[in-house]
């Protein structure tokens, strides 16, 4: 062969081999490629409460009960339950034939160990633990929880979707310290985690668990039959939003959990894609205040800021000009749910009152102290809110020290109780998933228990008493009365300032069907053609 022929043949072979590798169609329809909201850095949804970890854990682990789209808990791993002694004794019987991914049967001792671990970390679990007389395995499939006071919200606690979720794991794993991450990822959920294929920060693979027996009912969020139409689900961690958009358009991924608002118009124009609201319960923007130090230890200063704060400004900064994505929210609980009320929320309505705010600040003795505003500039939602806050505080005559940080630093900084001038803080921004604000139980940011409360350490005995009233409420009417009171009290006290309610989109290819709106990606029932 001549040199030129050899070169020509080699070049042709090289170009030929560059043809893009494609899976066969049948194989491709059994694999879902999903891009989650964030990097999946761990898989322990008890030790950690990150939403992305919770979402992945719901594939691997199952729950005794599961809430449906009306937030009503339904039987899931449990076959039946009985509440006796005025809701003080709860007896739960497991479905027969439940198995873990390692082939071992799910036994009541696994349930006891799992709930013991969960109770340490979950706010509802902590309430159960505080009145727990005993939790015992009566036989392989029966667990009895005995309390010394009624706990009418037991089923919701065991079936809620808020992190930490009461997931059932093998006893040997559940015995891990609840403050340390587990090392084995064995559950009894519809998909098994492929630890050998895990490339943290890039790829997480879930494989259909052949031993999973779905319930006969239709799936509805965490309840019903979790029927998987895929043999394999790949979570691809793509760090760049433009790359995600391009990969979705190019058919390299099937479903993107949270496209950024800027790219949504581009995705909507593509006829191969569906774009729709992801989570109907949305999110609540948060202006978090440190109650420990002047000037914000005075409620008048907090109210002064609140009367000047325009939720529209915040929401437009967060979601842009898409009016479908936001609404004003003069209340603390999730709009559209039974708990939502605007009681006491007048201060957030109507034209903003800058002059009145300045007057109130002067009355409260504000003397131009520098306000330390910690802004996580690497997260678009917090950056947008931080910018609006800096402007707002200056408008009412406050001196602002805008500290641009990354989220990792804000996460550590907000735990500091030191005075702001010595490394502490006055204000930081975040947001709360609407699913966590449907009532006071999972709503950590609403708690006003002082030292035990969330960052900012608000302290109000009246609010704490109100939360206790809600827990004891025997019916929906009593619950509504309790949250109405709570909303009014929290508005007066200004536990924190809600900056508005906003929604997010999800996007998926048109050959994928069965995608539903929920606070977490629901994979059961989804299929690809």
């Amino acid at each position: 062969m001549k040199r030129r022929d050899l070169l020509a043949t080699g070049t042709a072979a090289a170009i030929g081999s560059l043809a893009r590798p494609r899976l066969s169609l049948a194989q491709d329809t059994r694999v879902l490629r999903f891009v989650p909201q964030a990097n999946l850095s761990s898989l322990d949804a008890i030790a950690g409460t990150q939403y992305v970890v919770r979402n992945a854990s719901l594939l691997i682990w199952d729950t005794l009960f599961g809430v449906d789209s009306n937030l009503v808990p339904k039987l899931q791993m449990a076959e039946a339950y009985e509440a006796t002694d005025g809701n003080k004794t709860w007896t739960i019987r497991l479905r027969p034939g439940l198995k873990f991914h390692d082939g071992e049967p799910v036994l009541s001792r696994d349930v006891v160990a799992s709930l013991n671990r969960w109770m340490v970390r979950d706010t509802m679990g902590q309430r159960i633990k505080a009145s727990l007389d005993a939790m015992e395995a009566l036989d392989d499939r029966t667990v009895r929880i005995r309390l010394n006071k009624p706990f009418p919200k037991m089923l919701f606690a065991l079936g809620k979707s808020n992190a930490p979720v009461a997931e059932i794991m093998p006893e040997r794993i559940a015995k891990t310290d609840p403050f340390q991450l587990i090392k084995e990822y064995v559950g009894s959920g519809p998909m098994a985690f492929k630890k050998d294929e895990w490339v943290p920060g890039s790829l997480a693979v879930f494989e259909k668990f052949a031993g999973y027996e779905p319930r006969p009912e239709a799936a509805d969020w965490l309840s019903g039959g979790k029927r998987m139409k895929f043999d394999r689900i790949e979570w691809l961690i793509l760090p760049d939003d433009a790359t995600k958009a391009a990969a979705l358009q190019n058919g390299e991924i099937d479903w993107w959990e949270n496209p950024v608002p800027d790219l949504v118009p581009l995705l909507k124009r593509n006829r191969n894609l569906n774009v729709d609201i992801a989570d109907p319960l949305g999110n609540i923007g948060s202006f978090r205040i440190n109650h420990l130090h002047p000037p914000f230890n005075d409620p008048r200063v907090r109210r002064a800021v609140m009367m000047a704060l325009s939720q529209e400004d915040y929401m437009r900064a967060v979601v842009g000009n898409d009016d479908e994505l936001w609404k004003a929210q003069p209340g603390f609980f999730t709009p559209g749910t039974a708990a939502y009320t605007e009681e006491g929320g007048e201060i957030l309505k109507g034209p903003r009152r800058y002059d009145e705010a300045k007057k109130l600040l002067a009355e409260a003795g504000y003397k131009g102290e520098t306000i330390v505003l910690c802004v996580a500039t690497d997260v678009q939602i917090t950056k947008a809110q931080g910018d609006v806050t800096a402007d707002l505080l200056q408008r009412i005559g406050m001196k602002v020290d805008y500290q641009a940080l990354d989220w990792g630093t804000v996460g550590a900084r907000r735990a500091k109780k030191d005075p702001p001038s010595q490394g502490g803080w006055h204000i930081f921004h975040t947001w709360h998933a609407g699913a966590d604000c449907i009532n006071p139980a999972p709503y950590t940011a609403f708690d006003a228990g002082g030292d035990k409360a969330w960052f900012g350490w608000p302290k109000s005995d009246a609010i704490q008493a109100g939360i206790a009233t809600w827990y004891d409420a025997p019916d929906a009417a009593a619950e509504k009365a309790a949250v109405t009171d709570l909303n009014r009290m929290a508005m007066e006290f200004v536990t924190y300032i809600p900056t508005g309610f906003f929604l997010g989109y999800q996007a998926w290819r048109k050959n994928v069907s069965g995608v539903v709106k929920a606070p977490f990606p629901v994979f059961w029932g989804v299929q690809k053609t």
Binding site: A14, G16, S17, L18, A19, R20, P21, N39, S41, S42, A47, G48, T49, Q50, Y51, V53, R121, N162, A163, D177, F179, Q180, L181, K183, W198, V199, P200, G201, S202, L203, L236, I237, L238, P239, D240, A242, T243, A246, A247, N250, E252, D378, D406, W407, G408, T409, G411, A412, R413, R414, A415, T430, H432, D436, T444, K452, A453, W454, F455, W457
Partner: protein, 313 residues
């Protein structure tokens, strides 16, 4: 020569020790807390404190550093705070994509930039020279991520020649491997090509003005021989130096390129680790990068002797 080699290899030990101490100290004083990130946004301050204690992050600096250094000396880079996977395994998973990207970029860059520089010098002042220098300025000026987006838009989305993102291991075939790397290597190579081309041109201009080149021309030696045998070999030392220095540029550029093209490489690993404060992973990757850079410099020094026999160690 062997003595020199042994001395240089041994000298990497104190360098690595200083790097290790520096990186550990830097991370110790840097703000941020992995416990807060593990705990998530809903956790209370008390939860975060318990997790921090569980991770041993509340222990004094010297104890933590001593423990980590001892493990490193035993070949154990520790375990990721988040994934509980050994850092060596995580680095092992990411090594091939980054090495592939860097090697392909180096081959592409040197293969294009050196002839470009030579050509520009040989045609100094002509439109060829100007065109090449305009390209070089362009390569310097346009950020890697912009080039990446443009390439992905044109060649992946519009023409569908290449995938937008991802990496296929070499074990799955040369074609698929190359297919995933062409666009990232071109994007990353832009700056590098510009740098090498400019240095090659400048050095070649200097060499081409030397007396021995004039003598060679007077003797009737052909242009190709003068350029590539006489001139380029004598211009090689500065070019090789720049190529060596440019490896650091490549490491920095790989972080961006790996993010734009979603290549699961070391650059992304270390950025993710920094954002999460996954200290063992950051320390492991930085140590590795430092070691590679020290080795590259050693290689460059050794190459000098090949191009210029007057250099002796």
């Amino acid at each position: 020569m062997l003595g020199y080699l042994a001395r240089r290899v041994l000298s990497t030990i104190p360098v690595m020790a200083i790097v290790a101490l520096f990186v550990f100290s830097l991370l110790y004083i840097a703000p941020g807390d992995p416990a807060a990130i593990i705990a998530g946004d809903q956790a209370t301050p008390a939860d975060v404190e318990r997790i921090r204690a569980g991770l041993g992050l509340d222990r004094p600096f010297l104890i933590r550093f001593g423990e980590w250094a001892w493990h490193v000396l035993n070949g154990d880079l520790g375990v990721s705070i988040f994934t509980n996977l050994p850092v060596t395994r995580m680095i092992g998973q990411r090594l091939e994509p980054t090495a592939s990207l860097m090697v392909l970029t180096l081959i592409l860059s040197i293969g294009i930039a050196v002839p470009m520089g030579v050509l520009a010098a040989w045609n100094q002042g002509t439109w060829i020279d100007r065109l090449i220098m305009i390209f070089a300025v362009f390569g310097f000026s346009v950020p890697v991520f912009v080039v990446g987006y443009i390439l992905a838009y044109v060649f992946a989305l519009e023409l569908d020649w290449f995938p937008v993102q991802g990496y296929t291991p070499l074990a799955k075939g040369f074609g698929p491997w190359l297919n995933n790397l062409v666009l990232p290597a071109v994007a990353l190579g832009g700056v590098y090509i510009a740098l090498i081309a400019r240095i090659t041109r400048a050095t070649m201009l200097e060499v081409l003005s030397q007396d021995y080149i004039r003598t060679a021309k007077a003797k009737g030696v052909g242009s190709r021989t003068i350029l590539f045998l006489h001139a380029l070999k004598n211009a090689a030392v500065p070019i090789v130096t720049v190529i060596g220095i440019g490896v650091a540029l490549l490491i920095g550029g790989a972080v961006v390129t790996e993010s734009v093209f979603a290549i699961p490489g070391l650059g992304r690993l270390v950025v993710d680790a920094i954002l999460r404060r996954d200290y063992p992973v950051i320390q492991g990757v930085v140590l590795l990068f430092s070691f590679v850079y020290v080795l590259v410099n050693l290689g460059v020094d050794l190459l000098y002797t090949a191009f210029d026999p007057r250099i002796r160690y």
